[in-house]
Symmetry: C2
Subunit: 435 residues, 2 copies
């Protein structure tokens, strides 16, 4: 089945907004084994909408249209579809009644403009929209099946689940594709590529793709066949990739993050964490506290941007700062120890570095970062890392935070903490205080 | 002049990546008065590329193509263009020499695959690419002018500046459009719309658009005519909008942020700031330290997530916590005072609230946030705000941080600090320590 996506809306031809809806539609098509051959965007112009619909219906089996179903005069998808296939547009009294009812349920009368949303091209099936006033429409015309959906993402999602997915499931015949994911922390893309090379040979190069982000790599893999076959194959690919990449794989769940996994391990191990940040300026604490329930394992942190605060809040000795400079191993260690003692946590992670653009020297260029992790045991258990990071200020900060979180995760793994006991927390369902 | 954009690449039909290049091209077209009538994406398929190019050249005066100029077998834009217009593809020895030279300058021999990048359709002009191996191409065919650009954003930018902009400038005849921007903090969209309504009447509704983000609204406005006319009109619109919206406008520079403006005011006023965060978990400190040179005016912060740390690090009295709860005005005030005293800053901002999803009560539902700002003078100068914020955990945190930064900015304005003396810092060019 060949499919195309058409997004309607002049705002999508401006300088700010992209057709992000097409990503969710592409995922649904992929899951059901339909081939997406093209995407287009046109403005609010019924002639252009009609031309695109007529052409795409001739080229494809399925055309998914988003946007242009609103109540105002520049919402012209209905008109474009009618024009493309020579169909009459008529007011559907049932649809009109439902729209009026929706307004009444909010205690309001339906504005006159909304009558337009009850116009239906002859022969089209109305797809009820429980999340908004614009119903979706499905029609068979020009050799294809066309779905017209509202552009509001929340409304689109509802209609895709209620109307498009069942339609595709009926026609897909189990030939769809399912995807799996593994997330890898703090390895360069080239090294991940090298490690997983054998899997390309075993499963096919096109079955696995590598998505690189700063400090994080996502391995996506695909499997076709019946649902049972797909699950089995995804399981085999995931197991093989985990074996090849090793402990740098931190999750196989798309919605998990490095901070949620580190948090889940802290929770599972019954340990608490504190942070002492200089160049990251609070980014590590901020990421940790994105996780719902983080108050269960994160006690707090200090952003000690000035040398004075490193002494005052973390008890770093002035001699250390004077002798080694703020960006040094001894200061990183002292910051971690100070944070653990003064904030009263089992573990503490400290980051001090030069994020740039200024502040670099020949000895310590921009991107020089020292990290230290202390706890839960004695001083001997301090992990220290010195890294030279590439990129601008934002990149140095992002990579530093990523390494810090990975150090926490690795320490908990080294302590033998079992991730499996932590799945509830990791999924964000823990009954934390919410702060 | 009617223009269309075609992005080539199978990865742009997947579930992860959008054609972001089209936004920069749309901006260039807008500036030069060309009308963008449609955008399309096709995969790495020379037949589909050819079909799209032939059709778009018939419909438009200008077709901008990105992607598919790489060295590998699936880079097929050159082939698609040749096929669309029946042009011969021939190896250009000059181009080949330049590509080889580029590899030599890195001390490497040119891989054989890169020979493909020297293929040029008959009659096309080669556009040198100083940032990569794939040259751009310009050809007149099928009734239009076509530009073929590499898809790598950095390379595309270089070629747009060197080849497309001059070409458009020659043909645009000064009829382009220029845009201005004003950013507004912490006002609801509906209120901004109400305030600027008179400007719609005076300058035309289509001249001004409103882009809403959490806690921030961007007003974008456009002016046509000669460069001098545009500048004058943009100035008039900006002045009128500033008068209508008032002090909530925090900048007229696209690259400035609320944190960079607050920082510039701190620098201009010679004041320093500390933060004491609970529900925002370090987000305010993190945003402040994104600004290069922030070590000049930001001393540091405390993320006091637990009650114990609010006492220990900020000196909040236990009785206050017991009597009023952590999310209360007295605790917010005590956190701010404690941060100012213990971190040694002129001003301190404190945030304590319930970000959710858990932790809400009937009295203090999720979204309840207390903020307090203290300094530079006596205790009487504390600003306190209690807000009830909508949205999920991420939204409550983002809005809280935005309000905190706006409170800092307003306090400095109230102190009579003059923004104009701070422009160097605000533009991020200050010679800060870089930490």
């Amino acid at each position: 089945m060949k499919a195309a996506i058409l997004a309607v809306g002049s705002e999508l031809l401006g300088t700010d907004r992209l057709d992000t809806n097409s990503l969710r539609l592409a995922a649904v098509l992929e899951r059901h084994g339909a081939e997406l051959v093209g995407k287009e965007v046109v403005g609010d112009d019924s002639g252009r909408i009609a031309a695109a619909l007529g052409r795409l219906a001739g080229e494809c089996d399925l055309v998914l249209v988003t946007g242009g179903l609103g109540p105002t005069a520049d919402d012209l998808t209905r008109e474009g579809a009618a024009e493309a296939f020579g169909l009459e547009l008529a007011l559907d009294e049932t649809v009109l009644g439902e729209i009026e009812e929706r307004f009444h349920s909010f205690g309001r009368a339906m504005p006159e403009v909304n009558r337009r949303q009850a116009l239906v091209p002859a022969g089209a099936e109305v797809l009820p929209n429980r999340r908004g006033t614009a119903p979706g429409l499905r029609l068979a015309a020009g050799g294809a099946t066309l779905f017209l959906f509202p552009g509001v993402p929340h409304e689109l999602d509802g209609l895709v689940a209620a109307a498009l997915e069942p339609w595709l499931a009926e026609r897909g015949g189990g030939g769809g594709i399912e995807t799996g994911v593994l997330k890898v922390a703090c390895l360069p893309e080239s090294e991940v590529e090298e490690r997983i090379a054998p899997a390309y040979g075993e499963f096919g190069r096109e079955a696995i793709s590598v998505l690189a982000r700063p400090g994080e790599i996502e391995l996506r893999f695909r499997a076709a066949g019946t649902p049972a076959e797909r699950r089995a194959r995804l399981g085999s690919i995931a197991a093989r990739l985990r074996a090849l990449v090793g402990r740098a794989v931190f999750t196989g769940e798309a919605e998990e993050t490095l901070e949620s996994v580190a948090g889940a391990l802290l929770a599972a191990g019954g340990r608490t964490l504190a942070t002492a940040e200089s160049c990251t300026g609070g980014l590590v604490a901020e990421r940790l506290t994105r996780v719902a329930g983080s108050s269960g394992w994160f006690v707090g942190g200090v952003v000690a941007y000035s040398n004075e605060l490193k002494c005052r809040l973390l008890g770093v000795a002035e001699e250390l700062l004077a002798g080694h400079g703020a960006v040094s191993e001894p200061v990183a260690r002292a910051m971690a120890e100070g944070a653990r003692a003064r904030l009263g946590a089992d573990l503490a992670i400290a980051i001090t570095g030069i994020a740039g653009p200024g502040g670099g020297t020949a000895d310590k260029p921009v991107g020089t970062v020292h990290l230290a992790l202390v706890g839960p045991g004695a001083e001997a258990e301090i992990d220290h890392r010195l890294v030279r990071l590439p990129g601008d200020r934002a990149m140095v900060r992002a990579l530093s935070a990523q390494i810090a979180l990975e150090m926490v995760r690795r320490r908990l793994l080294a302590l033998g903490v079992d991730r499996s006991t932590a799945s509830a927390l990791a999924a964000g369902t823990a009954a934390g205080s919410g702060r």
